[in-house]
Symmetry: D3
């Protein structure tokens, strides 16, 4: 029975959550006014501002293809973190971690877009972390989808697009093994101390877009991976429900 | 009489403001949780997140001097603006404009700090524009002071500092000549179309810290400059009052 | 029965391989003379030179910790590929892809090292692709382990280390779904046309170190992922056998 | 009476100047042979080589506008200063100070140019400091105007332009409060020790183009600012006279 | 008599070579499969992979000229050397030494190409040092010529070119004065300890393309230079013979 | 007979010079006031400002060695040339040509310095081209020596050094084959059109420091090289005489 398991396991997490419980998720649309889509997404204390910008141009590799492009950039404000980290613009380059994350966000969104239906335009998702507490990349993907959807709705409303290029919703969540227990949606404390960390990106149809599992402390078995995937599937189904509610106009708080 | 002048001139501004009227200013303290000071300041639709970080180190030129340092960095989210601007971290360098602004913020704050009383530590003010609608640098200075004050209060409370290194409050506002009329606190529409733009930074004691006037369309006379300085003085007195109220614990909204 | 499946499926692969068959793997030790470990590894036409360098220093975050560090750098010669790609040194920066790969190699090797047993020294694995035909990152990890092992043997022989910091062998392979069929160790032609691509890194003990699956054309189901993991497990077991043979002194050709 | 004031105050300046006295100014035209305009300007021991280059192209934001562009670049030879400063080309970037100054020079010159009359061409003013002794940016603006004027005369003589795009002369000077006394045209010694430093750029018509005042040691009052502006006005009127004399063919030495 | 001189002098070189003797030279064509020309050249333990790539574009300065371009890039794998050197791609720039060498290779090859006969295409020679033991730049030039020749033969075979743009063979060798004795083709040990080092590039017709002599320890006399040139001439004649043999299909080992 | 040869050949050079004639050379010491040595050297219309700076520190590779270091940096003002070239500080990197030249200047000066006698300090020669008309690198070396000598004299006078670390004077000149005729000290017009260009650096004792010959149009024979070396030797002897005269206090104009 889930309940008894949950109540047992709940005692394991430092913030009182059950192992299979997401943090409190909030989705605020229209957070800023200029972007075609602008969403503040919060996974507990992690807050990411995701904006979707539409431009009538494509990168060179798509020119003349009749197809558009979907891409992402990721950043973290210097004091989004416990101690101040150097500003990447001042250092003159983006870290490997930043590039890895923005490439992941871009691929995740492209996986649910019909680039031909988008036409020769670029949709850029800017995901900027205002406050970090673990799971910034999964919050970014989940929020970016809502911002992208808002931008698409605007293009449809303006008659720029005739049909939506969005094939499926997409969301992401982290799972990991913390002190031997598989848990969902790790916060910073759990993430720092976990043995294995996996980021899972799935569509609304329950298919995988990305699976990135890393053994940080100890390598993991096939069985552990299966348990993590079950947790991720549950979390993503809930997140996709929250995206739907937010897009339906409800305040997701 | 100010009133009649105001009602006449009020008709000139596209948003209904009188020439000598600030936009609606909001100051939200503790906006994010990690920084020693964290303030969201809004001048109308301009929103800047100002965080103050304290670190126990100083730049090389201050090492062993017994004095601390106060510095600032400035950034703008790519879609803070009407059209998306390239991310400086991705371009690999900060623009001349960015550097000019962050140097201005740093000098303005240093002007009201007793660096000896700060001791050998660095106070970094990160000013990140979430949404831009004109006056981002003046909002940044005004908000950064509140964040800096919060950080100082924390150091005093923790017994790290015995006395406050803050000599005076400091705030900033823009003034300009729009279609021949001197006005206070220009928004983006006014800023784009103005002939002359001046940023003024003053202390709570009514002294100048910085005056930066630029003729964008037409050069300006001594008389016009005097009118602009009067407006700026009025605006800054009001802003310093709002800073005081915010620091006194009142919600400034 | 595996055989009949293999013979059927074998017809599917453009180079005559069965779906669960690795390319011809060759491991040449002592390929260059200066490095503490130097291995040319070939997965079919993919050729990667992996050198292991030992230096008596550690990065700042490990200083004074009593622990060492294992890290990796990855590069591709400009004409390792079908058409010439720009030299990263000339462009002045490493691409996001390069950084992603070298971070993956570094994490994979660290997962099988006891950093305390290494002592305060750094082991750098340089993986340079001389010729690319798909799977360069998995060949790099597999070859880097052999080079690392050679470097460790040298440190043991010289009495610098008393016991080996190597906990397990580690190897990597790619798997993917090509035209609906799950296959092992994709070459460039298969990789370009596949729907899903997964890189799996495992230890000799059969545990996962990294799993990175990406839906390139179509998202993938849980069932497909399971099939891919079975293939990967088989391939990695074979690769670890080849590493052992090479390290035992046999020419692996 | 000015004289008695001057004789009193004169004793205050370390080089024997009266408070309202410029340093010895020299303007040497045709200092180098390739540029369309080439001027060595000296404010005492400060020597800046200002060249004006005309190119038949405009930056992207002016393309097709029918308008030209006027811009500036600023540099300092490594040993123009008391101690050697690192070469910006070797460091790989221009400092914030350099960018701030070159943006100031560019805006100052654009303020007196009719860009439409210039046509779609770019006038670049390169201001390189051969020897620095305070006031390099004001000397640069003052010299750059003479170089620009020479370049324009050449375009008129060649029939490339039909009418001059130069609307007014422009010149610049620094003023500041040194040991409580407002003085004109600070040299390095005065600049290093002053409380307040203001750079003023004005046209030949007596209008302001730029005013940039900074409190370095102590903030300044409205009254002090007024005194500084009076001094600046006097100095600029003299500089514009010297520019006129130089352009009239007289050797200004 | 050469023999007796050689036997005497032979005792001087640490590896048993006579002063006028090249190291063992090996030329392996078709070393990698993608490039139009791909040659591994070995001068003793120095091994350089030289690839020739043909692209249907020219740099801006050749556009519309009807002429092609020949250029080179040079790199060294981080552990090609005794101790690991930092990767230039990671440092974000090529060293002055790298640029000097790649410019030398490019000029040397251009000197024997008829750029008009090449047509508007670019031939890029990538010379990557896999293992360094002195003389990498001279090995690179000598090997790059063979790779270039292979690429040209391919263009002729494909009918892209009607006649060969290659005017002469070109090869290079180093000469130097080691402990007072002029010697040919210095290895790393000799190069590190020599007084004077000269790189000579000559055509098959016995003409000079480049002569770069540098006094490292002691300056050199006209007489010494003449002796060095005689040695170089001899070595280059032999190298050109080896290039011919390799291109004739013989394995040069 | 030299005379008749000269009068014949004189007709060949576009500026009326005999083939073996230097341009008018001027050496102005103490050109700027801050540097320990500051020399403006002119070879005809080529003008290079050479400053020598002494700093009490050495690069890492010399630390603790008891030896000093001599190095050089080279730059060209943007409008030193016929058409404006981009500022390297603005482009963010020094060109390969710049690095090649500054490395040449550094090696040339080091060749005549006893680094041990210099002690652990660095002598930096900054060579900045104010106006270019061919031969900037040879003028730079020749002028840098005079600036270096001035700096050394100052250190001796101040008692910082007990004996001079200068072993010999050093100077440089270019020679080349212009329309079949070997000529000395090429100006820009000759340099652009020549077949072969050689830069020769020699000491006052008549020994070579550097010889860098490049075939630009046509390769050159041993005989031509010999003729060029004779010309260079003559030119350098004259330049060393001019350096001596300048250092003796005579105005060299």
């Amino acid at each position: 029975m889930t309940d008894s398991l949950s109540s047992d396991a709940g005692s394991l997490r430092h913030d009182g959550r059950r192992p299979d419980q997401l943090r409190h998720v909030r989705i605020t649309r229209h957070y800023t006014k200029h972007a075609e889509g602008s969403v503040l997404i919060e996974f507990g204390d992690t807050r990411v501002l995701c904006t979707a910008s539409v431009e009538d141009k494509v990168p060179p590799h798509q020119k003349g293809s009749g197809e558009g492009w979907v891409t992402a950039e990721y950043g973290m404000l210097p004091r989004a973190t416990h101690t101040r980290s150097a500003r990447e613009a001042a250092k003159g380059k983006q870290s490997g971690r930043t590039q890895e994350i923005q490439r992941l966000i871009g691929r995740s969104l492209r996986a649910v877009f019909d680039l031909r239906a988008l036409g020769e335009r670029t949709l850029t998702l800017d995901c900027d972390v205002l406050q970090a507490d673990g799971g910034t990349r999964t919050a970014a993907i989940t929020g970016a989808f809502v911002a992208a959807q808002d931008a698409v709705h605007r293009l449809l409303a303006e008659g720029v697009l005739e049909r939506s290029p969005v094939l499926h919703p997409v969301a992401a969540v982290s799972v990991g093994i913390v002190q031997g227990v598989p848990v969902l949606d790790l916060d910073y404390v759990e993430d720092s101390g976990c043995d294995t960390d996996m980021n899972v990106v799935m569509t609304g149809a329950g298919h995988y877009v990305e699976v990135q599992g890393t053994a940080e402390g100890a390598t993991f078995s096939r069985d552990e991976m299966n348990q993590l995937l079950v947790l991720a599937e549950k979390g993503i189904a809930e997140l996709i429900g929250l995206q739907r509610a937010a897009l339906a106009g409800a305040d997701v708080r």
